[in-house]
Each structure stands twice: as C-alpha cells, then as structure tokens.
C-alpha cells in the first residue's frame, strides 16, 4: 500500500519533449512509473521516449486514461498548464517547475480546487511510492520500500531523511515533497490523514521550515486526529528574521513563522521533534522499535 500513487497509476507529462521534461520522464520510466504519454502543443501525433505525444491534456486523457500529470513547463506557463489539467479531468497534478508567480498559483489552485483536482508543488521534487512509482526529480534509488511515510517542504532534506531511515534498516512507503512556495497544493494537513489510513505506514516523518503556518496547522490536526507516531524536523532555527532563505516561502515575517514556535506547537501535539536534521533516522528507529 501507499498513498496517492502506485505502480498502476497512469501518468502523463506536460512539457514532455522539453529538456527537463525529457530527462526526468526517462528517469521515471526507468524507475518503473507507468508513463502513458505526454503533452507538447504542436507535437501531437509524434512519439517521444516510446510514448505518444498529444497537443492537449484533454487529448492525452481521452486516449490514455491518465489520472495524474507531472508538470515541467516553464514558470510563465505553469498556471495555464495546471488549469488545463484540471479542466481535462486530471485527478492529481505534480508541479515540479520552480519560479511560478504567486498570483498565477493563487488562481490556478482555486480553479484546481473547484474542479476537484489535487495538486502537489510547485517548486518541489514530486512524489514517490518506493519501488513502484516515481513522479518527480528525486533520485529513486534512495527510496527503499518500508513503513515510513514522508512529507517535506524541502527536496534535498527529503533525500537526506529517506537515506537516514534506510540506513537504520527501515524504508519508505510514499514520500511527498510539497514544495516551499507561499502557495502550495497538498500540505501536511491533507497528507497526514492519508498516511494515517494507509495500513503499511507505521510512522510519519514531517519536515518543515520557517515561514507561513502550515506546520502549526499540522500540529493542531495531529493532536486531534493522528494516532501513528510523527517525527518532525523544522529547518531554519538559525535563520535571521526578514531574510528569504532560498525558498520563496521561507521567510520569518515580523515574529511569525519561526522554527521555534513551530517546534513548540508540534511538541505540544505529541510529535517527536528533533533539533538536528542528522537525528531524523535515529529518532524514527527509536520510535518504531519501542
């Protein structure tokens, strides 16, 4: 079991024939992801990486029955691509692109929600169900199958955490990189219940960072609803106020969104919070072996 995607999930790629799209689509295919086609306007009818190319998402969905789209289009076209996917009946759009304007994402997400389409990202590594389905840019070999679910705002910290978990002799069910932009799709609060309901997942790792209050919302949700153990790390304890730390959303504005307040809220909710990112794997092993 897993959440959201598995080996049977039919995936298309928007921005399929571009440089990034091609490279990562091929990596996904090699991993075993069921990529059934792609979309690049004016290239419909061609074949790419052994898969059919369509002019529109609607064509792709009609012909392949795809339910998930991986989006690699340039930042200026992200909103258009997301709305096109929603309009065509895609159920989940995984938006990898970095640098989409916030205003665009505001409208795109509202439309996606209206159409009942879930989104992950933008500016994220994607989602991976270990040894089944990789939709994104993460190095697949790090994610060995196991019983730990992973939700993270950061790409490389996702890899770091998975690597540590695997080194402890454990593994991952599904890992979701939710992205560090000010407006993102699925967040902790929506993903936590999915992991709670997944029979294979026995513990959940959540990695957050400074900025916004998604982690605080997660803490409130965990307190009331999550029975499985949650291990958390919040990046940016040493980040100065008012400075953007790489991610567009990673900024402490005024006194809101600090790592400290997030860690305290999570601890109060019964979450196992580690202070150093080097201790994530150890803490997971310790909690699961109890």
């Amino acid at each position: 079991m897993s959440i959201l995607v598995n080996k049977d999930t039919k995936v298309i790629v928007q921005g399929f024939t571009g440089k990034e799209g091609s490279f990562h689509a091929e990596q996904c295919i090699n991993y075993g992801t069921n990529i059934v086609g792609g979309v690049t306007p004016n290239k419909g009818g061609q074949e790419h990486l052994g898969r059919p190319v369509f002019n529109t998402v609607k064509d792709a969905v009609d012909n392949t029955g795809a339910t998930v789209s991986m989006i690699f289009v340039p930042p200026a076209f992200v909103a258009d691509a997301v709305m096109e996917a929603a309009d065509a009946g895609i159920e989940l759009a995984v938006i990898i692109t970095e640098g989409a304007p916030v205003r665009d994402m505001m409208f795109a997400k509202m439309y996606a929600t209206k159409k009942g389409m879930k989104t992950i990202g933008p500016n994220c590594p994607g989602i991976i169900t270990a040894e089944e389905c990789k939709i994104g840019i993460m190095p697949g070999n790090i994610f060995k199958k196991g019983n730990v679910g992973l939700i993270s705002k950061s790409g490389t910290l996702t890899y770091e955490a998975s690597n540590q978990v695997v080194k402890e002799g454990l593994g991952i069910t599904t890992a979701v990189g939710i992205g560090g932009d000010p407006i993102i799709g699925l967040s902790y609060k929506q993903l936590l219940p999915m992991f709670e309901a997944d029979p294979e997942t026995e513990a959940i790792v959540m990695i957050g960072e400074i900025g916004g209050d998604l982690e605080i919302q997660a803490a409130e949700y965990i307190k009331e609803n999550i029975k499985k153990p949650v291990i958390a790390f919040i990046a940016g304890q040493t980040a100065p106020k008012g400075k953007r730390m790489g991610h567009a959303g990673a900024i402490v504005s005024g006194s809101a969104g600090t790592a400290k307040e997030k860690m305290e809220a999570l601890e109060k909710a019964g979450v196992h919070v580690v202070v150093s990112p080097a201790d994530i794997g150890k803490k997971v092993a310790e909690v699961l072996k109890k």
Binding site: P139, E160, P240, P277
Partner: protein, 391 residues
Amino acid sequence: MNVHEYQAKQIFQEYGVPTPRGIVANTPDEAVKAAEELGGNIWVVKAQIHAGGRGLGGGVKLAKSLDEVKQLASEILGMTLVTHQTGPEGKLVQKVYIEEGADIKDELYLGIVLDRAKEMPVIMASTEGGMEIEKVAEETPEKIIKVAVDPTIGFQGFHGRELVFGLGITDKNEQKKFIDFASKLFKIYMDKDVELIEINPLIKTGEGEFLALDGKMGFDDSALYRHPEIEAMRDISEEDPDEREAAKYGLSYVALDGEIGCMVNGAGLAMGTMDAINYMGGTPANFLDVGGKANAETVAKGFEIILKNPKVKAIFVNIFGGIVRCDRIANGILEATKMVDVNVPVIVRLDGTNAEEAAEILKNAQIKNVIPAEDLADGAAKAVAAAKGEL
C-alpha cells in the same frame, strides 16, 4: 524586489491613489529646486532607503524655509541611517524626497499582503497609523481589521464597507473616499504582482481627504519578467553585493555572523546544515544553496564568496547527490580547490548516489585542508571542531 518610497508613490499616482506632491533629489541644490517647484512654505525632507523607521532614525525632517531644506538635505544625504529594520550597520542615504507639508488630522494604517493560510490577498487597516504595525498586532490585535479579498471576484463594495465601518469612519463622503482609495490600492496589488504594499501612515487631512503619506512596496521576484517598468526601478546599491554576485551564478546566499562557512545543495538542507552546526555548538557564517548544479565552477564561486568573510574559520560542504552523482561532485570540489586558494579547513560530506566512489576520490587526492566526513552529524561535528582549531 523592493522600491523606494518615491517610486511607490509614482505607482500610486498612476492609479489615482492620492499622495502629497513630491520630487526626488540627489543633491542639496536639487532639493532646494524641488522645494521651489513644489511651492508653499513647509516641506518634508525624507531619506530614501529600503527600510522602515526612518523618522525615528533622523531621516525625516520638517523644513520651514528653503535654507532649511538645503541644510537638512545636506545633513541627510550621505548619512548612514540606522533604523530597527537596517541592522546596526545602517544604510547610506543617496537620495532624498522633498514633499509638500500636509495637514495631518488622523493617522491610519493600510496594507495588503498575501494571506498564506487563506491563499488570497488580505487588506489590513488600523486606526493606529504611524506606529510600528508589528507592535500593534502583538499588543492590540483587535485594532487591526483584516479583510480577505477573493481575487476571482476582486474588490467589491462590501469589502470597502467592512473596512470603513471597522475603522469607525462615519462621514459618508469620507467613507466613499476611503473605499475608493482602498479599491485602487488593491488594483495595484493585483496588476503589479505585489508581494507587500504598506502605507503607514495614511493620513486624513483637516479637509477630510485621505493621502498616502508613506509608501512601501515589495514585488514578487518570479513575476518581474512581466513588469519591466518595475524592474527598471531596481536600486542595486540597496542590495547586498555578495548576495547579488552569488545570484549571478545561480547561488542563493545570505550572510550571517558566525564562523563556519556552509555550502549546501537545496534550500532546506542548507538551513538544516546551519541548524546542525548550531546544535553541535558552532555558528554558521552563511546560508548558501548551490542549487542542482554543484559543479567545479559553482563550487569555486561559492568558496570565493564564503572566503571574502574574514570571520570564516572553516567551511562545511554538505552535498546530497541525487541525480547528480557524488563522484562527479567530488571531482568538481577538487577542481574548485585548484581554482580558489582555500586557506581554511574544508569539511566535505558527500552522500547519496555513488557516495563511496566519491569518498575514495577525496581520500586519494590528499588535498591540503580537505577533510572528508561520513555523514551530516560527522560533518557538522568536524566543522565545529575545525573552527575551534581542534581538528
């Protein structure tokens, strides 16, 4: 990207948001000319820097004669202004804005930012204008009225009514004027991909007019490509030169005041590395995300920028190789050490794809100052020890 007050007011004026009249000046003589052109007998000389709290820092002064305009402008131009937002080093004032005096009856606050939880813009208004709004939010949060506006319907009459009734504006004519003001400001926010717009204070004059006495704006960097008119307002002298230099090479850099330089791939891991150093009892000298392309050139540039800081006593290179294999990165680091003279210990931790081959490469190369580390914990511990001279 942020702009100066005078630039924000230019945008306000284009949209019909009322402001006092003003002219920007680079020299005391220009300041006098500006005052003459504006006319009247009272002017405000305002330092133009990208930081709030200018008045308290001595950067905003009232002049009652042209001689006084000249004297104040010469005092303010060239001064290093320290406010609660500039940090202790302050900011050099290179421009002043000469503005006509205004008849202030009431001071209000009006701002628009993205409400990340609601995922839509929120208009914030308060009767406590002229104060630090963070302080108001903390001490008397009930005095801030928040009205979220769904961008798919835009600013409607009811949003305006919530604002004026919340602020206690009872005069019908004044209500109309304030709603018009807020509606235009919202249009600017949406049209220009604004990240933050803040007017503090927004004043009501003796005649019941509303005027933007101050103006602060920040824009979404990701959307600047479609706003060349905003990009043209960029003042490079307001930006940190090292951050700018780093950005040219696709590196994201923020200076801190510790002793251990950090070079990491990915923003989250970069923050996490700083936290790990702190946890081990050390202090990070910077945040540096080399992004997805950790090659010889970017690593060399990273070393160069980190080593400019004389406080740096050790460097921790923490790379998690994913799609980019670690053996390649190891070779990149070795090449970079040939390009830049690295005179402090460099702790290198490479993990992920082909990590063992990478460790072998680093071990065999035997480069002076390069110390391999096994994992994040080991790397952080070694970096802290090296900075203390204990390694």
